[in-house]
């Protein structure tokens, strides 16, 4: 908890610093900004950052942005990180899960990077300067010519173009790839990316690990000799892969020629912890220094441990109750949906299901993300009103419904509380806790459910991917997308407007309007968001909260051995 307070304070500081920076005509470079992240307080900052980032980045065109831990003295040069889930593979485009993306980001760089202190700040990386055209549809980026892959071969424009080809062909980038229309070599180590429409957060997209720059020659070599590309790497990133014992650990070595500066921590071991509980015990016993994937149940105990610190980041997702709007009892029955809205008590769900870790979120966008609507009021918890609505909906004697949920505890536990609350107003749920695979197939692709509980997810801190995916009619039947089945031309129009607008205030207003429409129609019932906390040894410095969970030890250092 200590750490959390610390970073809220620093986030406030960041607001002021940024304000000054903006006034000062873009003199601020990324490394002057103090740690910030996805707290409720920072959402306005995030917007400001987006407006001034280009200028800020342009000023660092000397290409010597040194922001890694190398600048600091580290008392110890190794770290053991524990993760509860092992990546299936480390192919940058193959596995969208956080665990894989985190490791991918250690091996690779994107065209642009993120400031370690603040995920919403874009900093130069493989591209050191860039420029948007007037209408915002063309992006010209200069590629550094002094960067080498881990095998020593220099990075070329050809590699960059190949990497973009590769990235958009990968399934996990599908939702963002449509923004990028084409890319070409325009000489002088410059590339030009043409966008399908003006899109403000495009640099955020390019900074996700899914758009890592890979070596064309290496990829082709792997293809030729049958090496599994998902088990090897040849990036330009801070670390190289020494060995990988599947199911047990990955051993990483620092890449001292990293263009963002040699990492202070030279040896990284990523251990697979079997489950959250044992991971928590391992970090308590000092077997690991850094633990990602803490269970809320262990939170208080770990927070009380004076050798440890918690670093809290709001999760990049919001947990939602979905009612099938296409068919079944909830379709075309607003009163019944309202009954559900009045019946749920978010505070109890948060306490009973998530051990009280996180906060209730009535709106569709996570705090800290661009588009978060402050002061949004949900339906109040009012069981009596809910019962009235049940009568209005035509179910005075209650109704039996099917409630599907994935088996992970962070879904199944809150779902149990919801089931209980709904039972109080006469909605009797048949709770089906399912394996993730069939759950995704049935609820999201086939829309074969009546009610389910899942999460929204935004890879980068902007409302567009979440809102577009959840509400646009073209996304019906796509996983993680519009599985409620919202199909409203007016909504589609508003979404398009918000996506292509270059005016932040307009975008904010549009998203607020959409949030209001969602509330009125009870399409999705936003419930809560939690913290994705990492637990670290208190002697590690430089760890900042990252909502999407891509922690990179290149920026960390030890203050005591």
């Amino acid at each position: 908890m200590k750490k959390f307070k610390k970073f809220v304070a620093s986030a406030l500081a960041a607001v002021m610093v940024l304000g000054l920076a903006a006034c000062g005509g873009g003199g601020g470079t990324s490394e002057t900004q103090a740690g910030s992240g996805g707290t409720a307080e920072t959402e306005t900052t995030a917007n400001e950052i987006l407006t001034q980032e280009t200028a800020a980045a342009a000023d660092t065109s000397d290409g010597t942005a040194v922001d890694s831990g190398a600048a600091k003295e580290s008392a110890k040069d190794s770290i053991i990180m524990g993760y509860t889930a092992e990546p299936n593979n480390i192919n940058p485009g193959a596995d969208s899960k956080t665990n894989a993306q985190m490791v991918v980001a250690m091996f690779h760089d994107g065209l642009v990077g993120k400031a370690p202190e603040d995920q919403s700040v874009i900093v130069p990386s493989i591209s050191d300067t860039w420029e948007f055209s007037e209408d915002g549809t063309e992006l010209t980026m200069h590629i550094r010519d002094d960067i080498k892959f881990h095998d020593g071969t220099p990075l070329t424009v050809e590699d960059v173009l190949f990497s973009l080809d590769y990235a958009v062909s990968q399934g996990l980038n599908a939702s963002s790839a449509s923004v990028l229309k084409s890319w070409e070599d325009v000489g002088d180590n410059n590339i030009k990316i043409t966008l399908s429409y003006p899109y403000k957060p495009v640099l955020q997209i390019l900074a996700t690990p899914g758009y890592s720059i890979i070596s064309k020659a290496f990829y082709e070599q792997c293809e030729a000799d049958g090496t599994n590309f998902g088990m090897v790497e040849n990036g330009t990133g801070a670390y190289t892969l020494e060995s990988w014992t599947t199911g047990d650990r990955m051993v990483l070595k620092a890449y001292d020629d990293w263009h963002r500066g040699a990492p202070a921590i030279k040896d990284v071991e990523i251990r697979v912890c079997s489950d959250e509980t044992s991971g928590a015990l391992m970090v308590e016993n000092g077997e690991i220094d850094f633990f990602i994937g803490m269970n809320n149940a262990d939170r208080d105990r770990l927070a009380a441990n004076e050798n440890l610190e918690l670093v809290d980041a709001y999760s990049a997702g919001t947990y939602i109750i979905c009612m099938n709007l296409q068919e079944g009892p909830f379709a075309d029955n607003l009163a019944l949906r309202e009954a559900v809205a009045y019946a749920i008590n978010r505070e109890e769900i948060l306490l009973g299901g998530m051990n009280g870790v996180g906060s209730v979120t009535p709106g569709p966008i996570t705090p800290g993300y661009f588009g978060y609507v402050e002061g949004f009021e949900p339906y109040p918890y009012d069981p009596e009103k809910a019962k009235e609505k049940m009568i209005e909906a035509g179910y005075p004697d209650g109704i039996d419904i099917e409630f599907k949920v994935a088996s992970d505890s962070w879904y199944s536990l809150p779902a149990q509380v919801i089931v209980e609350q709904l039972r109080q107003v006469g909605i009797r749920c048949d709770l089906q806790i399912m394996e993730r695979a069939p759950f995704l197939e049935e609820t999201q692709e086939q829309l074969d459910y009546e009610m389910c509980y899942y999460i929204t997810w935004g890879d980068f801190p902007d409302a567009d991917p979440v809102m577009w995916g959840k509400f646009h009619s073209e996304c019906i039947g796509q996983p993680m997308m519009n599985f409620g089945g919202v199909n409203d031309p007016e909504v589609d129009e508003l979404l398009l407007k918000a996506r292509t607008s270059l005016d932040d205030q307009e975008r904010l207003d549009l998203y607020a309007e959409l949030a209001e429409m969602n509330k009125e129609n009870v399409w999705y019932l936003m419930v809560l968001t939690t913290y994705n906390a990492v637990v670290i040894n208190k002697d590690i410095e430089g760890v900042t909260p990252i909502p999407a969970g891509y922690y990179n030890p290149a920026f960390y250092y030890w203050v005591e051995a």
């Binding site: 399934g171 996990l172 599908a174 599994n228 912890c273 079997s274 695979a437 197939e441 049935e442």
Partner: protein, 316 residues
């Protein structure tokens, strides 16, 4: 002897084929799409479809099965994991040694302690020691292994902090899971040793040995144990076979990245080639262990050895 071994190995082939068919069928009808699971939630439909095509998931049931089994028979190729795209056997072998270590720890604990306590229990039949051992045995058989594991974690890892909670990084990591996995077999071995000892102790030849004035120790550990051991050898062999496939939940509790964890993960990811590969591998190994048991058996028991070695019957 060689003929017996070869015959047994040949008989294994239809069993393995049958297993592959059974599991293929089950996995085929399991809902969930491997391609979708691989690409993650946010992948596009086209990408999923392309991967499905690439993994050969679009064919009909028999087409896919015969494809799969054909590759095994013709090329010895067990396919690649849908999840990691590694050959199945790379997957199996990187995990197998953990399970093997766990199984060996368990088998050593259960056999050594089981035989010792079993003998003690039999020799001191109806004594306090016997009653205590019998009670503990009963307790061990009645306990779900995961619960025992949880209790051991609470006691030794959380409260006493003497052993690691989970993982597989050092030999200490295998003590608690080893004990947990051993519990049931330990109980079985004790029961079996006890009853086998009691039965053998009543044999005429033991009485003969006593009548010769052979010291009691020698009677117990020589004349009785050597005979009583035979069913125990079989039990240890069977245990070993089951340990290899039966530590699934214990691996889950203690976070051992063994073959059990791999199988659960693979079932969840619908990684059919790995599921079938793992189980065929385990079935094959268990059969080898059974064979080895029989050979050891023959070594201990001259009567059975004689059956294999020579057919000459000596008449007076």
């Amino acid at each position: 002897m060689y003929r017996m071994i070869i015959k047994r190995l040949i008989m294994l082939i239809p069993v393995l084929l049958g297993i592959s068919f059974i599991l293929f069928t089950i996995m085929y009808f399991t809902p969930g799409d491997a391609a979708r699971l691989l690409l993650g939630d946010s992948a596009s439909e086209e990408a999923v479809e392309a991967l499905r095509e690439q993994l050969g998931l679009n064919g009909g049931f028999f087409e896919r099965y015969f494809d799969y089994i054909g590759n095994i028979i013709l090329h010895g190729d067990f396919g690649i994991s849908y999840r990691t795209r590694n050959p199945v056997f790379t997957e199996v072998f990187t995990r197998f040694h953990y399970t093997l270590r766990l199984a060996l720890t368990a088998i050593i604990i259960s056999s050594v302690l089981g035989v010792l306590f079993g003998i003690l229990s039999a020799v001191r039949q109806y004594s306090i020691a016997d009653n205590v051992i019998t009670a503990v045995t009963l307790f061990l058989t009645s306990m779900p292994d995961f619960w025992l594991g949880m209790m051991l974690i609470i006691i030794f890892a959380v409260n006493l902090k003497v052993l690691p909670i989970s993982g597989a990084s050092s030999w200490e990591c295998f003590i608690l899971p080893g004990f947990t996995a051993a519990a049931n077999y330990l109980a079985n071995t004790i029961r079996m040793t006890r009853s086998s000892m009691l039965e053998t102790i009543r044999m005429d030849y033991v009485r003969t040995a006593r009548a010769k004035g052979v010291p009691e120790k020698k009677v117990i550990f020589g004349h009785t144990l050597k005979n009583a051991l035979m069913p125990i050898v079989t039990l240890v062999g069977v245990n070993m076979g089951w340990q290899l496939g039966g530590t699934i939940i214990i691996e889950q509790v203690f976070g051992i990245p063994g073959i059990g964890s791999l199988m659960i993960q693979s079932i969840r990811m619908k990684d059919t080639p790995v599921v079938i590969g793992c189980i065929m591998f385990i079935a094959f190994l268990s059969s080898l262990i059974n064979l080895a048991t029989d050979i050891i058996y023959a070594y201990i028991d001259p009567r059975i050895r004689a059956q294999y070695v020579t057919k000459k019957a000596v008449k007076a």
